[in-house]
């Protein structure tokens, strides 16, 4: 699971959960894979990302590296910034671990890179 995916995930569909965001990450295995860098793609993606959540997620698993905590002005033309964003958003993969609902503590396992967000009938 990439951090861009984590940036969108919530447990709000659960009964009794109102926001369910962001999900806490308990990472056991983290892998980095190289992904082709496309500056236009990344700069269009950035405004859709909750940057604070991205930073704290990266930090919580020890992969913040040198990512600025705020989106730089004119980032579209800042290749260095775009590359850092590219790395955190797309190249870090959580292979095993858990996502944890911030309100109920419900754990969603991540196995083989796949978060399992299936809910039981009594949880919805």
């Amino acid at each position: 699971m990439k951090l861009i995916t984590h940036n969108m995930l919530t447990s709000k569909c659960m009964k009794g959960v109102t926001v369910g965001y962001p999900l806490k990450i308990q990472a056991v295995d983290v892998k980095t894979t190289e992904v082709d860098f496309n500056p236009e793609f990344i700069s269009r993606l950035i405004p859709k990302v909750d940057w604070n959540v991205l930073c704290s997620a990266a930090e919580s698993i020890g992969y913040l590296e040198d990512l600025p905590k705020e989106v730089t002005e004119n980032y579209e033309n800042n290749v260095d910034f775009l590359k850092k964003a590219h790395r955190v958003l797309l190249e870090i993969d959580i292979i095993n671990g858990e996502l944890i609902c911030p309100e109920t503590g419900r754990k969603f396992p991540i196995n083989n890179g796949i978060p399992n967000m299936l809910l039981n009938e009594d949880e919805v």
Binding site: M1, K2, I4, T5, M8, L9, T10, S11, K12, C13, M14, Y21, N38, E40, F41, I42, S43, R44, L45, K48, N112, G113, I114, P115, N116, M117, L118, L119, E121, V124
Partner: protein
């Protein structure tokens, strides 16, 4: 005891009384005594023999003021309590063995008792949430209010079996005990009533309460209304009832047996709130007089023609009360839950578990993306976020490199296949998509929603797709069509029939097998593959070749997938139930009904 009869008659009466006393003691546990007390029991006549409080009052109060009359449900005895022992004794002497009110005109048999039965069911404690405000309106105001209503001429008036009614604001329908919330009447509550709300607020009883429905009832003496609870889903809390022209006793009853008669004086206002509104029945016994307990003792009140103004406020949304046993909203939701539970069981057994079993084989047969879906994906700008809701083996997650695509499916086996291809996927159900509102630019749902087993769930899935989409985002939905041969053109699904059926596409009804799905308590027909669908809810067979090498017989395993195949226009109708989308286009594509939606607002 000297009672004026001849000795013989006296002995005979005493014998009868003794026998009757014995019965009373057995029935009620109350001890009869020969000592004079202020309490009497009528040993041989009660409610079951047609004796009423009125009759007792009429005959007994002639000897002195009464304190209490207690009738016992289902028993042939009754208790009368006088203010003093002297008056009780006077009544005893004059009535015992003389007043022919018992069955077959036999005389009443009396006895003194040491105490009255603990009438725990009938109390003077008001039901919780009930308030009565005496003299809520003045005589002038009463007159004004009465002048507003004309029972005979008004368009909304009708004569019920036991009374006349007129409605304002909305008509209360006695066939379903509810109102048509979409059909307001021409006349709202007369504005002359407005002073009532201000007064209520000033007195601190309600907070800005403004009813929008008024029912005026006219009860002639002898008329009443059966015990009832106002339909929970119809009206909000509280319900107000103003008694005009006459006083009356209204009876409140609880299912635990409690019974509270409440004297509603002329010009009083009754406020039914909380438990008294949701959990107690209220009604008016049809009779011409009421017996009321006052400081000075019991009193008979003659009923006159009573006009009641019942003010209610229509409930928006569902009833949220905690008195679920009496709540129509709760009970209806329970019934829906059950249907939903069956539907979810059906999906579990005949969709989810089947894909787990056939995932590899299924994936081998699903290579070619459908061109119109690919065109849709290619229409997205660089850097868009696209969700594939029900991505299967991920055949659409490879298109358009410059869009971030994330897919999900409820089948872990299919999702594993996606992961092996390096796609971004998660496992989840399309009814509960774990994505934030408005987090993606576009959504595709290809051949997914037809696996949901009732229309409420299909609608819920569409609602979820719209929810996660950004405003102005596009949502493309494909579902299998019931009609596989539109405009004389056979779909590729039909064309793939190896036996190349030419004319006789329709399988005969008697060849269709049915399967009962125990867990859902439902029987479904098994569809014959490569033929036109005969039913909307069907089980479609999937034949899986058993690749077990040890097994030489090479058996075929049959899996039945549940489908709801869509009629023309059905998908559109479902989408029209959402008020935050625009239907961009609908089309038929190779045996599927397809719809493109645009999200307009949150």
């Amino acid at each position: 005891m000297e009672n004026g009869h001849s000795r013989k008659q006296g002995r005979k009466l005493n014998k009868k009384v003794k026998k009757a006393q014995h019965i009373v003691e057995k029935q009620t546990g109350i001890t009869c005594t020969n000592n004079v007390t202020k309490n009497l029991v009528i040993c041989n006549c009660g409610l079951v023999n047609g004796l009423s409080e009125d009759i007792i009052y009429h005959h007994f109060s002639a000897y002195g003021p009464l304190e209490k009359i207690i009738m016992i449900t289902g028993e042939s005895c009754a208790f009368v309590s006088f203010k003093t022992a002297d008056t009780a004794e006077l009544a005893y002497r004059n009535i015992n063995g003389k007043l022919n009110l018992a069955q077959d005109d036999k005389p009443l048999l009396l006895s003194f008792v040491d105490r009255l039965p603990e009438n725990s069911n009938c109390t003077n404690d008001l039901p919780s949430g009930l308030t009565v405000i005496d003299n809520f309106v003045t005589e002038e105001e009463e007159e004004l209010l009465l002048s507003l209503v004309c029972f005979d001429e008004q368009e909304n008036s009708s004569t019920l079996k036991h009374r006349q009614v007129v409605h304002y604001g909305y008509e209360f329908r006695y066939d379903n005990n509810n109102v048509d919330k979409d059909k307001p009447l021409l006349h709202g509550i007369p504005k002359e009533c407005n002073f009532l709300w201000d007064r209520l607020q000033k007195l601190g009883y309600t907070d800005n309460f403004r009813p929008d429905q008024l029912t005026v009832n006219k009860y002639q003496p002898g008329q009443g209304i059966p015990p009832h609870i106002d339909t929970h889903s119809a009206f909000d809390d509280p319900i107000l009832s103003l008694s005009l022209s006459s006083s009356i006793v209204m009876e409140f009853r609880h299912e635990n047996g409690s019974h509270v008669p409440i004297f509603l004086k002329q010009r009083s206002l009754l406020i039914m709130s909380d438990e008294s509104r949701y959990n107690w029945t209220h009604g008016i016994t049809p009779r011409k007089t009421d017996i009321v307990s006052l400081e000075s003792g019991l009193k008979v009140v003659q009923r006159c023609t009573r006009v009641s103004f019942t003010f209610r406020k229509l409930l928006k949304g569902e009833c949220q009360c905690r008195f679920t046993k009496k709540c129509d909203t709760y009970l209806k939701n329970c019934a829906d839950e059950l249907v939903n539970h069956s539907a979810s069981q059906l999906e579990k057994i005949h969709v989810h578990e089947i894909y787990e079993n056939i995932a590899d084989h299924f994936s081998d047969t699903r290579h070619k993306p459908w061109p119109n879906v690919v065109d849709f994906i290619n229409s997205f700008d660089v850097g868009s976020v696209l969700m594939d809701a029900g991505c299967g083996n991920g055949k659409y997650l490879n298109c358009h490199k410059n869009v971030f695509k994330v897919g999900f499916d409820s089948s872990a086996s299919l999702i594993n296949l996606c992961q092996e291809k390096g796609l971004n996927v998660i496992t989840c159900n399309c009814l509960y998509i774990p994505f934030r509102d408005e987090s993606v630019d576009g959504v595709i749902s290809i051949a997914v929603i037809h696996h949901l087993a009732n229309s409420e769930r299909r609608l819920r899935a569409i609602r979820e797709l719209v929810r996660v989409s950004r405003i102005n985002g596009n949502i493309l939905i494909y579902v299998w069509a019931k009609d596989q041969c539109k405009d004389q053109q056979k779909s590729s699904y039909l064309k793939q029939d190896r036996r190349n059926r030419k004319k006789d596409d329709l399988p005969q009804e008697d060849k269709i097998q049915n399967v009962t799905v125990k867990e859902s308590n439902i029987t479904l027909p098994i569809h014959i593959n490569r033929t036109q669908f005969q039913h909307q809810d069907v089980l479609v067979p999937w034949k899986l070749k058993d690749s077990n090498i040890d097994d030489k017989s090479k058996s075929e395993k049959l899996f039945l997938r549940f489908y709801h195949v869509f009629d023309e226009g059905e998908l559109e109708d479902l989408c029209k139930k959402l008020d935050n989308i625009e239907i961009v286009k609908t089309y038929y594509d190779q045996g599927n009904w397809c719809i493109l939606l645009k999200k307009l607002k949150s």
